[in-house]
């Protein structure tokens, strides 16, 4: 039997309706969107339709969407691309960013920029006073993620944008985990750039996008055939882009229902976790409703995750990309969580397919594992 999948923030299953839309572009509609014959024009029309769908999901115009191969690429593109065209100054990223935002900032540091990280408080909320202080130094770009992949905490991006704009800095938000889980509005959020990704919302792997204020002069990351108005060369991955568009349309349509469903599951989960004396990270912040990140004092997370896997539940310890590193989550450390407790963290992230029954089974399994592990610890002591 397949394990119950509670790791939807890592990647989530492709929706059947999305696959249906993609299949023709994996079969006889195989044209290169740059070709002028009918195969090419069909591919081009499909890409442009998907562009509308993505734009619609984030409240932007279609001509603001630059398709990339992933969220990682879009984040690298925006950080390196915007800053490279400006006089080197400061780049500010929050302490809880995904490494595909913070590492490019460090790379720019090696080229003469200054990378600084903006603190967060114990609830995973951005320290606005710290941001205000940092902004006194000339700044090219402020990048703060909309919803954190580990804790699910949502930042007040509109406020961040207002502060950054006052200091003539560009604002970017990595909205990869937010899309499909909360309402999105590029203009209301008042940012210059926003990253979104397909495979986190039931679309395929292999497509992402940067939503961009068109007035910004940005340097490409990939040079070549001049696709995406010269901003991102490379043959368009038509099938994945079509899937991304279809997934965006579904995400918008299902947003309210999904949020209510996920919130319901999480309420049940966290009520029991509290009874089990778990520490739930970021629970006092505003969170996307599908994510719960928690730890039990004196219980090793890796051991717990392995045990839960044996019991048939796929969960994550920290984020997938760094889950082989053994290092405690940088997000939790930034929140001031004790290193030992952070090392024990487990992330549950729900998808539309999860049920209340699965949550109950999970809690049962968790309870017996905890009892067993506590016994072991007691014996060892």
């Amino acid at each position: 039997m397949s394990p119950v999948y509670f790791d939807h923030n890592s990647t989530t299953a492709l929706k059947t309706e999305v696959l249906e839309e993609m299949l023709p572009f994996m079969a006889n509609q195989h044209g290169n969107a740059a070709s002028r014959h009918s195969y090419g024009r069909t591919a081009r029309a499909a890409v442009e339709h998907a562009r509308e769908q993505v734009a619609n999901a984030v409240g932007a115009y279609a001509n603001q969407i630059v398709f990339t191969a992933s969220g990682t690429e879009a984040n690298n593109f925006v950080v390196q691309g915007i800053c490279s065209n400006l006089e080197p100054a400061q780049i500010l990223t929050s302490a809880i960013e995904h490494p595909c935002v913070s590492r490019p900032a460090l790379v720019m540091q090696a080229r003469g920029w200054k990378a600084h990280s903006i603190k967060v408080d114990e609830n995973c909320n951005l320290d606005m006073a710290h941001l205000q202080k940092l902004l006194k130094t000339p700044t090219n770009l402020v990048s703060v993620m909309l919803a954190n992949n580990e804790t699910g905490v949502i930042q007040d991006i509109t406020k961040v944008a207002e502060m950054a704009r006052e200091h003539k800095a560009y604002v970017h938000t990595d909205a990869v985990q937010a899309l499909g889980k909360m309402p999105m509005d590029f203009f209301a959020q008042n940012v210059h750039a926003m990253t979104v990704s397909s495979h986190k919302i039931g679309g395929p792997l292999g497509a992402g996008a940067l939503v961009l204020d068109k007035r910004i002069d940005i340097q490409p990351l990939l040079y070549g055939g001049g696709q995406e108005k010269g901003l991102r060369s490379g043959t368009e991955n038509v099938a994945a882009i079509v899937g991304f568009g279809a997934a965006c349309e579904l995400a918008v349509k299902n947003l309210t229902a999904f949020d209510m469903h996920a919130e319901n599951l999480r309420k049940r989960l966290e009520a029991s976790l509290s009874n089990m004396h778990a520490v739930i990270f970021g629970r006092h912040g505003l969170r996307i409703p599908n994510t719960s990140f928690f730890a039990f004092p004196n219980i090793d997370g890796e051991t717990l995750v392995t045990a839960l896997d044996k019991a048939g539940f796929a969960v994550a310890s920290g984020s997938a990309c760094s889950s082989d590193s053994g290092e405690p989550s940088h997000v939790l450390l930034a929140m001031g969580v004790d290193e030992d407790l952070a090392r024990g963290a487990v992330r549950v992230s729900f998808g539309a397919s999860n049920t209340l029954e699965q949550v109950k089974q999970f809690l049962g399994a968790l309870e017996s594992e905890l009892a067993r592990l506590k016994n072991l610890t007691a014996i060892a002591a």
Binding site: S2, P3, Y5, D7, S10, T11, T12, A13, L14, L19, M22, M26, A27, N28, H30, G31, N32, A34, S35, H37, S38, Y39, A69, S70, T72, E73, N76, H98, P99, C100, R103, P104, L106, H199, P204, L205, G206, A207, L221, L222, Y223, G224, G225, G226, Q227, S233, G234, T235, N237, A239, V305, D309, A314, V315, A316, S317, A320, C321, S323, D324
Partner: protein
């Protein structure tokens, strides 16, 4: 419903082989894990599939799987190889790069970008047959030459460069050698154990795999280092971060497996079709083949039709899907820079058609194409004042045209 034109544009992109699609689908539906997830079987399953595919890609080119880095396509591979190696070795070797004027834009434009960053580049003109003169290549090497990039098979004219000899010259002169092989896989045999190549770019969608996936070969012995262009989770041993698109990788692996197993017989069949096409089209007066006649892949036929204009020619042959120039630049009205580099006049460059034949092309497709071309070229020439002048014995190159 409008009947789909006959597809003769396999060099722009190939259909996904049904066997490849069948192999990909399960990774879109049940095995959807993130291969970087280490804590559950969804992740392990995906990782296993990614590693199997890496082996298949390595096998086609006789490399070690550890030498294969996944990318989003040949454009990214070329960018990563060129910018990555140039930046890594600039301090120790120098800042001069050699390439060829007929390379794909995904090689030329990253080098142009490096020029803006302070590198110097030599863009060698090929001989009129499209091949690089080895002596000219050797002469272009300077003490500060860090990198050379030469494509194996040209996308527009299909000529095969002598990569082995060029690589040897690079080795002798301590120059890093990158080869764009996007158009070569499944068409020419590639043995990286013997070829003196340091970096090689691959694409899946030119070899019956999906779009959005490619790979870069990075030699281990002697070890070649590159600076990553995409940073983040540290995937692909730090050379290229980003969640791996499992289904696309699986598709590329399967496509390259099929290529390895079927290349020999497929090339024979395609050669026969190409010869049939050449013979048919050469019955039309005033046609010119572009690119060397022997050192070329059988899949590509690039021909110029004199005294007809390129765009109206493309309009006239709507019944077949072909390219004039490469797909990536065909939205512009500029004549093909590749054909101009061969010394073709603007007119002949404009009126060229690239026919590219592939796995699903039939004899009937070829015969239809010949018939269509004969009829349409005839019609356009009837309309053409240049054809009339040519028939009247006027040398068009001597005519003084009013400047416009």
């Amino acid at each position: 419903m409008e009947r789909l034109p006959i597809y003769l544009d396999y060099s722009a992109t190939t259909p996904v082989d049904p066997r490849v699609a069948a192999k990909m689908i399960p990774y879109l539906t049940e095995h959807y894990g993130n291969p970087a997830s280490r804590s559950h079987p969804y992740g392990w399953e995906a990782e296993k599939a990614v590693e199997n595919a890496r082996e298949e890609v390595a096998k086609l080119v006789n490399a070690d799987p550890r030498e294969i880095v996944w990318t989003s396509g040949a454009t990214e591979s070329n960018n990563l190889a060129i910018k990555g190696a140039a930046n890594f070795y600039a301090a120790s070797k120098g800042k001069h790069i050699i390439t060829v004027a007929t390379e794909h834009k995904a090689v030329i434009d990253p080098i142009r970008e490096l020029e803006r960053q302070g590198f110097e580049a030599t863009f060698l003109e090929p001989e009129p047959n499209g091949l690089l003169d080895l002596a000219k290549f050797k002469a272009a090497i300077r003490p500060d030459t860090v990198l050379a990039s030469v494509m194996l098979v040209n996308n527009e004219i299909g000529v095969i460069q002598d990569i082995e000899s060029i690589g040897k010259i690079c080795r002798e002169n301590n120059v890093i050698f990158h080869v764009d092989a996007a158009q070569a896989t499944g068409k020419v045999k590639i043995d990286l154990e013997t070829l003196p190549v340091d970096l090689m770019s691959f694409s899946a969608h030119k070899t019956y795999g999906p779009k959005g996936i490619g790979a870069l070969y990075v030699r281990r012995k002697p070890r070649i280092r590159i600076e990553a262009q995409m940073h983040g989770g540290g995937h692909e041993r730090g050379m290229r971060s980003g969640t791996l698109a499992t289904h696309q990788i699986v598709g590329m692996g399967e496509a390259f497996r099929i290529a390895r197993e079927e290349m020999a017989s497929e090339n024979e069949r395609i050669r026969m079709l190409r010869d049939r096409l050449v013979n048919g089209l050469q019955e039309i007066e005033e046609t010119y083949m572009n690119g060397d006649l022997t050192h070329r892949v059988p899949h590509n036929l690039n021909m110029s039709f004199n005294y007809v204009e390129g765009e109206s020619l493309i309009m006239a042959v709507k019944g077949i899907a072909v390219s004039s120039g490469s797909a990536c630049t065909s939205a512009s009205l500029e004549p093909s820079y590749v054909l101009r580099a061969l010394g073709r006049s603007d007119e002949l460059a404009h009126s060229s058609i690239r026919f590219s034949i592939g796995r699903f092309t039939t004899e009937e497709d070829v015969d239809y194409t010949i018939k269509l071309l004969k009829e349409k070229i005839g019609k356009l020439r009837e309309l053409s004042p240049l054809w009339e002048m040519f028939k009247d014995g006027i040398d068009i190159s001597k005519v003084q045209w009013a400047s416009h």
